[in-house]
Amino acid sequence: MGKLECSGDASLQNALELVLGYLNQIPSYGHREVLILYSALSTCDPGDLMETIQKCKKSKIRCSVIGLAAEMFICKHLSQETGGTYAVALDESHLKELVLEHAPPPPAIAEYATANLIKMGFPQRAAESAVAICTCHEEARIGGGYTCPRCKVRVCELPTECRICGLTLISSPHLARSYHHLFPIVPFDEVSQTPQNVSSHGFSSDCFGCQQSLLSQGNKPGLSVTCPKCKQHFCLDCDIYIHESLHNCPGCESFRHSNSTATRMV
């Protein structure tokens, strides 16, 4: 990091040509995006910048810019043409906010990326004592590596593309991380505070997830929520945890023959 220093003029066209070269290698089902952090007030280009912008638009690259100095027309034009966003940061915290806005992926446009079935391999991790020659370092390695299911060579880490047979290698947890978006859990309903609930058979005095007492002082029911599918009661903290981190309803998972398990696809 110590060797990086600023010199010369900023060039949007050179940056975009470089990006075009990299992103054109991405297969058609991938989404192409570039985020430019721009603090210069001009751009010094070797050719026609408008032509490069049209090339980006044709390659379906979504260009977004975050300006650090002042608003520039060329950045606005670039982001408008390619469907990206342009914002100028007012101060440090605003800059952080603007950068983090780009963290979740943008809504995908169906025509831009055609759906495809990609052939992938799911290698097994070898035991700690296994010895093999790994293809990435080209030397013998002891210990944890992965075996390509098609050509049986060792690779060091996942995800990667097998050097010998070209198969994309991935581990199932990599894909499973996003499955909670496919099968979301329904929001829980709030339980009303009427006195009838105390004596009704449906009301339990403990949260199903963490066993914390749902009764506030004086044995009156405190705030709680209930899952519409399995009808179990949860405290508010469990509700937040379940919907934000766990993505599983403990009640629905703990009963085999409830409606929720019958309708699940996986």
Binding site: A115, Q124, L175, E253
Partner: protein, 299 residues
């Protein structure tokens, strides 16, 4: 001089949440009797409570049709046996276990024929349910204050993996990884459990399949009783490989090579025209990566 309360809380205080597999379909056909297994487990839990005054133990039963809390050492609801002959750990746990097993069996009755006759494999236990409950309890422990025991989960499992629970178990594993809660697994079934291997690998726990079940207590006390602080300088069993294979969405079989939908990432074992999860139609004109690589190699 540190004040007395903080001195009591040393690094090795742990909160151990145990998920105990009580699947009757597994235990009825297994060579090792459940009663003997339970005696090893109870001795082990007692030893955990003896290691430190501040250690906490919670036991959750993983049944075939339901899951429930069996014992919580920190709850004030525990009442020892009336005659005082057994400590509350044993009497409470055994009493709750009996009640749970009866209820679990009752829940199976209307579907009993379907469960036993459906497919060749015995029904699996609801590991996803007990893991979710364990994680909710651990979140409650985190909320209890700035000083709290270090939580970990121990899965005592014998039943085979249920492929229908794949997504739920993976969600629990990622949530545990996010909260830095290791999931240890002691698997006593016949073949290794891919789900538990992945769980222990991803969360930084230990997966161990004891070779001799008569000495189960010894494996428990030397491997699984170790607290997280001590694991840094103890030599624990190394992993014998992790099975990262996925199960396909169409047949639930484990596959090591498959097709992945580019939109929703569902896994299929054979080529389909349409994704069953997200409904996207796969483009005919676009060639997939495999065929383009083949063309490169042939050229």
């Amino acid at each position: 001089m540190p004040s007395a309360p903080s001195k009591l809380y040393s690094d090795d205080v742990s909160l151990l949440v145990v998920t105990l597999d009580t699947n009757p379909f597994f235990w009825s056909t297994f060579s090792f009797p459940f009663s003997e297994f339970l005696s090893h487990v109870l001795a082990f839990l007692n030893s955990i409570l003896l290691l430190s005054q501040l250690n906490q133990v919670v036991v959750i039963a993983t049944g075939c049709n339901s899951c429930t809390y069996l014992y919580d050492s920190s709850s004030d609801k525990s009442h020892g046996s009336t005659s005082g002959s057994m400590p509350s750990l044993y009497s409470d746990l055994l009493h709750n276990l009996e009640v749970f097993l009866a209820r679990d069996q009752q829940l199976a009755k209307p579907w009993g024929n379907a469960a036993a006759g459906g497919g060749g494999a015995p029904p699996s236990s609801l590991l996803s349910g007990s893991l979710s409950m364990a994680l909710c309890y651990i979140q409650r422990a985190f909320r209890s204050g700035p000083i709290h025991p270090q939580p970990r989960i121990l899965c005592l499992q014998g039943s085979a993996d249920g492929p229908e629970q794949y997504v739920a178990i993976m969600n629990s594993i990622f949530s545990a990884q996010h909260s830095t809660v290791p999931i240890d697994s002691c698997y006593i079934g016949s073949n290794n459990s891919a789900f538990l291997q992945q769980a222990s690998y991803i969360t930084g726990g230990i997966y161990y399949r004891p070779p001799h079940l008569d000495g189960l207590f010894q494996y428990f006390s030397t491997v699984f009783a170790t607290d997280l602080h001590s694991r840094a300088f103890l030599r624990l069993p190394k992993s014998v490989g992790v099975d990262f294979r996925a199960s396909c969405f169409c047949h639930k079989q484990t596959i090591d090579m498959g097709y992945v939908c580019s939109v929703c990432l569902s896994i299929f074992c054979e080529h389909h025209d349409k994704c069953s999860t997200c409904g996207s139609v796969f483009g005919q004109s676009q060639s997939n990566v495999a065929s383009s690589t083949n063309r490169k190699r042939k050229a």
